[in-house]
Each structure stands twice: as structure tokens, then as C-alpha cells.
């Protein structure tokens, strides 16, 4: 799953990521911290649970891997375990969120993804795993990417 196994970023992807990085440094989404490395193709981002929500005071890590044809293709975004206890987040860190898969648009950015994920966390009324967690995680052995899953998106009322 590491950058060595995937195709290098295209020139378009590099340019776009450079721009996103600059924008992030000027104007980072609140609650997130980009852990600076020299690897443009994998970002590791620290998430702080929003005050006043079930996740207040907790810190998690997101790992964002960019494909060759980013942003035409969505990045792969997962929580580095231990992942937050949430009805749409599996214990292996996979996130059931439509914009990461079918509803991705190249006009979205890492920053807009972060905001969606934080809002998903903040709106959760209960800390629990998805009902099918064990089955799903078992099926993901052998390092299957969440982008290969045919997601049936959970009800967004949760």
C-alpha cells in the first residue's frame, strides 16, 4: 500500500498537491495538523475531536494516499488504527463516506475531505463500530484498499 507500490504522481497531480500544500500552510482546516514529511504522495494528518462532541480531547491520525491521476481519481483516506469508535468507521481504519468513493469530484481537496470527516465525527450520537465491522474487516485481510470495496453508504442520519 506504500508509495513504492503505486505509480508516481503525474505532473498535474504534483502541481495540484503543491498548491494544496501551500494553501494548507496559509489556511489549515481547524482541528487538523499536517505532519510535514518530504513525501508528497502520502500525507499524514492529525485530527483533534471537536470540543463539545463525543470525540472532544481525542486525537487520531488520517493517512491520505494520492493516486497517479489525482485529482481525477480520489485519494485513499483511512484512519491509522486505533481508529475512532464511530458507526461509519471500521476498526481497520476504513471510512464509509461517499465523497471518498463514488461521489468524489476533482474540485474537492484534502482540506474539504478533512472538514467532511470532522463533521461526520462531530455529528455522531453514539460511539460504536458499524454493525458489520467484524465481517468487513475480515474480508479486508490481505491489505485490500477501501477503494476496492463496493460501498453501500450508511444512512447519513447517524
Amino acid at each position: 500500500m506504500g508509495p513504492t507500490q503505486r505509480d508516481a504522481l503525474s505532473k498535474i497531480a504534483c502541481n495540484r498537491l503543491q498548491k494544496e500544500l501551500v494553501e494548507w500552510q496559509v489556511n489549515p482546516p481547524s482541528g487538523f495538523k499536517h505532519k510535514v514529511t518530504d513525501n508528497l504522495q502520502r500525507w499524514v494528518i492529525e485530527v483533534n475531536g471537536a470540543p463539545g462532541t463525543l470525540y472532544a480531547g481525542e486525537t487520531y491520525q488520517l493517512q491520505v494516499d494520492f493516486p497517479e491521476h489525482y485529482p481525477m481519481e480520489a485519494p485513499q483516506v483511512i484512519f491509522v488504527p486505533p481508529a475512532p469508535l464511530h458507526p461509519h468507521i471500521y476498526s481497520n481504519g476504513h471510512i464509509c463516506l461517499d465523497i471518498l468513493y463514488d461521489s468524489w469530484s476533482p474540485a474537492m481537496t484534502v482540506s474539504s475531505i478533512c472538514i467532511s470527516i470532522l463533521s461526520m465525527l462531530s455529528s455522531s450520537p453514539v460511539k460504536q463500530r458499524p454493525a458489520d465491522n467484524d465481517r468487513y474487516v475480515k474480508n479486508c485481510k490481505n491489505g485490500r484498499s477501501p477503494k476496492e470495496t463496493r460501498w453501500w453508504f450508511h444512512d447519513d442520519k447517524v
Partner: protein, 593 residues
């Protein structure tokens, strides 16, 4: 190449079929169509329709039409024009709208006039931009975040700016992903503005334009409730069906007949559920059944292997044996073919019944053997009729391309006078198909419904016997007129015989089809009105069983007996109800009544 030949032949057969059956269906079709959402502008391939409407009444209105690519395009264009005109919107918008509502003109009308705003929102047809940049000289692309002069920026109706290169990549990624590209929206996550073909064509490569156009055309068939692609391998035609019609059997221009409902091969009068079960059963048993598809069996008399190379089931062993037998049951042909006053029983399955006490294991083994034997009986008949039909199609082709001309030459008759031969072959092809499916039907006919089963087997047996006579006549009798020198002079007798058999066989099959489509309910209704008579006559249907494979056919009721409520026709052996003065099948008047 073989397959091309077949295709060609198939087309010939179909156009033949068309000029026999369809008459002026084009008009009828649009009248029939109560959807109200059609332009009614259907065009048939009219060059093959001549004025000869021998048997227009033979088949009811076609409730479907087959579409070539040009027809599909035409239909799609017409519907787009209609919507664009009636709703006063662009053709591109009309196309997006129609695709969204499964190409149903009536549906689009309905939702649009009920709530235009809601529809515009759902489909993404904006009336005015959501963002404007009135004085800008340069704009930033929302994907690559670079700035560009306006001539390198494009937007959908919403106004969200993206550079042409990003558009191109966005569209091409979507087109690569499949027909979902037809639902492409503006990349801005907050925006749902639809992207139409006009914008696609301005921005993508030639190759992508073509792919997109292809998807759009295919969508007219695939997203449409009224149309389906012909399932024949390699066929690119589609069929449009009048939804709500009862008869699902349709025939493509490639001549493949299929069921519009389940897209299996045409299987009237057997229902889709039975067909699906049967096909599953066949694939589950395929290993056990391989031997049936072998084309050779030992002669029941001399045991030498006999190859089946003809369509009818009448086999004659090579000299000196010359034993005539039935391919299916290996019984003597004398029990099958011509009128014997008894019953044709080759179609019936009877488990070998053993007398005496069984122990439990033996009983089980026997039951397992019987169930496979029973299935084998039906499967063999199903599969053999299938291959016999293929053979008949090939023979029809041979007849149309070579032999008719030869005959016309030898008999000094114009080919138009030989139509009865083609008609006979078309009838054989159709009957083999029906007969084949009645074996799937028979397999699933509930065992306890004895009366129905006997009635069914009687009708099936009569139809099958008729078909064997017809097939044999078309296949073998004709040889005398093709080969011999000088040509025999009794060609008119042959004409009378073949045309007569064609008509009688057609009646038998129509009768069989009707009975199956009524769920064999005639047995019930007769049972209700005159119980005793029916019980007797049904018992009579069953008697032929004893004759299976043997010649003890005298067990049947005596000819013309009317004490059972039925009388047997002298000419064709059909069992007619007492009240009929002429034979239901061949119209021969009843004698010694």
C-alpha cells in the same frame, strides 16, 4: 463462413415470414400502442412485403418491432425532437431529461408539467448561472487552481469555471468509467448542473466523442422499459415491445426468436418460470446427459450403430437389416407414423413398474433411478427436438437457396408455385420449437393431476405424430422429385399431401398451444359439466400407454366410437368432441356418426 450463411439464411426466413404474416402491421402497431408516448412513426422493412397476403390472419398483430441501429437512432431523435419542441428546451437538455426518465416521453411530460422546478433541480437543468464574473479577464480553474484567460476556461450552465484541460481530463475519466458519463455533472461539489453532449463534443478527443455517442445510443435501449437488445450472440439489433402485451415471444431481424420477458429463447406456450427451472435443471444434470447429445445409437434389432443425420425421428437401419424404428424410444416405427387407430405414445413417460416386495434400500435405489430416468425421458425429447429444429432451419435454407430452383426447373413450375414447400418448412421449424418446450412443461406437470396429464399427453402425442408425418414428407418424399430422371409426374399429389400435412399439423399445434395456455382447463370444465363422459374419455386417452414401444395398439377406443363423447376423425385420427359435425383439425366431415 458457416455462421454468416446462417445469418443470411435467417434473414431470408424472416423476410419470408414477414411477408406471410405481417401485412400492414405498421399502422396497426401504433394504434395498438396505448402508451400514448410514441410518435407512431414505425417503419417496417417494407421491401420484402409483397401483395400476397395468403395468411395474414394466421398470426395476430405483431406486438413488437425489431430495430436496426438506424431505427434506434431515428426513434431516439424523434423523441428528443418531441420533448424539445413541446417543452421549449434545447435538444441537449431534452436528451438529458429523457435519459433521466428512462426515455419515456409520457413520463417526462407528466413530471415536467407537474413541477418543472423540481424536475430541473433533480436533473440539473439550470435556467441561469449560479456564479458570474462580469469583469474578469482571468479566472482560476476549480480543479488545478491555475489562472487562465477566459478563452481557456469553460463552464456548464452554472458558470463554475474550470480550465479546458481539466474539463477534458474530467470528462475522459468519466467516459472511461462507462455509461455513467451520461449523467455527468459539474465538478463543483455544491453544484448539480448537468453536462450535455454539446459540451462533451467541444472538449474531448474524437475517440471519447464516439464512445460517448455510443453510450447515448445504447442508453436508448438499455434504460428504456420498452426495449431490449436481441440476446443472440453477435446480434446488434434491438426489439421494442408493446408493454402490457400478453404474448412475450418476439423474433429479431436476425431470425432469433426470444422471450421478451426472460430473454431466453422463445418458449410459448410454456411460462418463463418453468423455462428457468428447466434450464437450471439441465445445467445441473449436464454431466449425466452428455450421452444423449451423441448422434449415434445402436439399431434396436441388429445393434449396429446408426447415425442420425435427419430431422425427423423415423430411422431406417442400413441394409440388410432395414429395421424402421423411432430414434427417441427405439420402438418400431409402425407404432408411430401412419394412422394405426391407436394412440401415439412415444411422448409419454412411464416408470418401469416392478411387481413384488421391495426392501427399503431397493426402493430408494429404484426411486433415484426412476427420477433420473424420468428426467432423461423429457430431456432427450427436448434436446432432440432442438437439434431437429436446427436441422430443419438448415434444410429450409438449402431449399430456398438451391432446391426450389432445381424443382422449379424439373417440374416446369414457377417458384411462386412452390411456396407450399417453404411454408411446410417454416411450420416444421415452429413446431419443433413448441414441441421441445412442451417437454419441459410435461416434466413439471404435477404427477397427481392425472386427468390433465393424460389430456396433455394426448394432445402432445397427436401433435408430435402429425409433425413426424409432415417432417418426413418434407424431408424424404421430396427427394424423389429432386433426383429422378425423368421427373415423376405425380408432383401434384406431393403438393396436396405436403400442403395438407402442413395445415393439419398447424391445427394440431395451435390446439396444443391453446390448451397449454389455458392451463389445460378444458379437462376441468368438461369434468364439471359431464363427469362420467369425461372420466371415460380421459381414461381412453390413457389407454395408449400400454402400446408404448409395442404394437398392442388395439387397446384404444374403436374408431368413430361416440359413446365416450368423442369421435375419431377418419382422415387425421384426431379426437373430436361429440357435438362437432366436422373434424376440428382437418375439417373432414364426420362419417358414420
Amino acid at each position: 463462413m458457416d455462421s454468416e450463411d446462417d445469418m443470411h439464411d435467417a434473414n431470408d426466413a424472416e423476410s419470408m415470414d414477414d411477408d406471410y404474416y405481417s401485412g400492414d402491421t405498421a399502422v396497426e402497431y401504433s394504434e395498438d400502442d396505448d402508451d400514448g408516448d410514441d410518435d407512431g412513426d414505425y417503419e417496417f422493412d417494407n421491401d420484402s412485403v409483397d401483395s400476397d397476403d395468403v395468411s395474414t390472419s394466421r398470426r395476430q398483430q405483431k406486438n413488437y418491432i425489431a430495430l436496426k441501429e438506424a431505427d434506434i437512432r431515428q426513434h431516439q431523435e424523434n423523441e428528443i425532437t418531441t420533448i424539445s419542441t413541446v417543452l421549449s428546451i434545447s435538444r441537449v437538455d431534452a436528451s438529458i431529461l429523457l435519459r433521466h426518465y428512462h426515455w419515456s416521453v409520457s413520463n417526462v411530460h407528466e413530471v415536467w408539467f407537474a413541477d418543472e422546478d423540481r424536475v430541473r433541480k433533480a436533473v440539473g437543468l439550470l435556467e441561469r448561472p449560479v456564479v458570474r464574473f462580469p469583469n474578469a479577464k482571468e479566472l482560476t480553474c476549480g480543479i488545478c487552481f491555475e489562472s487562465f484567460p477566459l478563452d481557456r476556461i469553460s463552464s456548464a450552465a452554472c458558470g463554475h469555471p474550470f480550465c479546458n484541460l481539466c474539463w477534458r481530463a474530467y470528462m475522459s475519466t468519466s467516459i472511461d468509467g462507462g455509461p455513467g458519463c451520461l449523467m455527468l455533472r459539474c465538478p463543483d461539489p455544491s453544484c448539480g448542473a448537468a453536462i450535455g453532449q454539446d459540451m462533451i463534443n467541444l472538449l474531448v478527443s474524437e475517440e471519447d466523442k464516439e464512445k460517448y455517442a455510443r453510450y447515448l445510443l445504447r442508453s436508448y435501449i438499455e434504460d428504456n422499459r420498452k426495449t431490449k437488445w436481441c440476446p443472440a450472440p453477435g446480434c446488434e439489433y434491438a426489439v421494442e415491445f408493446v408493454v402490457g402485451s400478453e404474448n412475450y415471444d418476439v423474433s429479431c431481424l436476425c431470425s432469433y426468436g426470444f422471450c421478451w420477458n426472460c430473454t431466453e429463447e422463445a418458449h410459448r406456450p410454456v411460462d418463463c418460470g418453468t423455462v428457468a427451472k428447466w434450464i437450471m435443471k439441465n445445467s445441473a444434470e449436464s454431466e449425466n446427459m452428455n450421452w444423449i447429445l451423441a448422434n449415434s445409437k445402436p439399431c434396436p434389432k441388429c445393434k449396429r450403430p446408426i447415425e442420425k443425420n435427419q430431422g425427423c425421428m423415423h430411422m431406417t437401419c442400413t441394409p440388410p437389416c432395414k429395421f424402421e424404428f423411432c430414434w427417441l424410444c427405439l420402438g418400431a416405427w409402425s407404432d408411430h407414423g401412419e394412422r394405426t387407430g391407436g394412440f401415439y405414445a412415444c411422448n409419454r413417460y412411464e416408470a418401469a413398474k416392478q411387481e413384488g416386495a421391495y426392501d427399503e434400500t431397493e426402493r430408494r435405489r429404484e426411486m433415484a433411478k426412476n427420477s433420473l430416468e424420468r428426467y432423461t425421458h423429457y430431456y432427450e425429447r427436448w434436446a432432440t427436438n432442438q437439434s431437429s429444429r436446427q436441422k430443419a432451419l438448415a434444410d429450409l435454407h438449402q431449399m430456398q437457396t438451391v432446391n426450389l430452383e432445381k424443382l422449379s426447373d424439373k417440374q416446369s413450375q414457377p417458384e411462386s408455385q412452390l411456396k407450399f414447400i417453404t411454408e411446410a418448412w417454416l411450420q416444421i421449424v415452429e413446431c419443433r420449437r413448441v414441441l421441445k418446450w412442451t417437454y419441459a412443461y410435461g416434466y413439471y406437470l404435477p404427477e397427481p393431476e392425472q386427468a390433465k396429464r393424460q389430456f396433455f399427453e394426448y394432445l402432445q402425442g397427436e401433435a408430435e405424430a402429425g409433425l413426424e408425418r409432415l417432417h418426413q414428407c418434407a424431408e424424404k418424399d421430396v427427394q424423389a422429385y429432386l433426383g429422378a430422371e425423368p421427373p415423376p409426374t405425380d408432383f401434384n399429389d406431393f403438393r396436396t399431401k405436403l400442403a395438407g400435412l402442413t395445415s393439419v399439423t398447424r391445427n394440431y399445434f395451435e390446439n396444443l398451444v391453446r390448451a397449454l395456455e389455458n392451463g389445460l382447463s378444458d379437462v376441468d370444465s368438461q369434468g364439471a359439466s359431464s363427469k362420467t363422459a369425461t372420466a371415460k374419455s380421459v381414461a381412453a386417452f390413457g389407454k395408449g400407454k400400454s402400446g408404448r414401444g409395442k404394437s398392442s395398439r388395439a387397446g384404444g377406443p374403436s374408431k368413430n366410437s361416440d359413446d365416450h363423447g368423442f369421435w375419431t376423425c377418419d382422415q387425421c385420427t384426431y379426437f373430436n368432441t361429440r357435438s362437432l359435425p366436422t373434424c376440428e383439425m382437418c375439417h373432414q366431415p364426420r362419417r358414420n356418426a
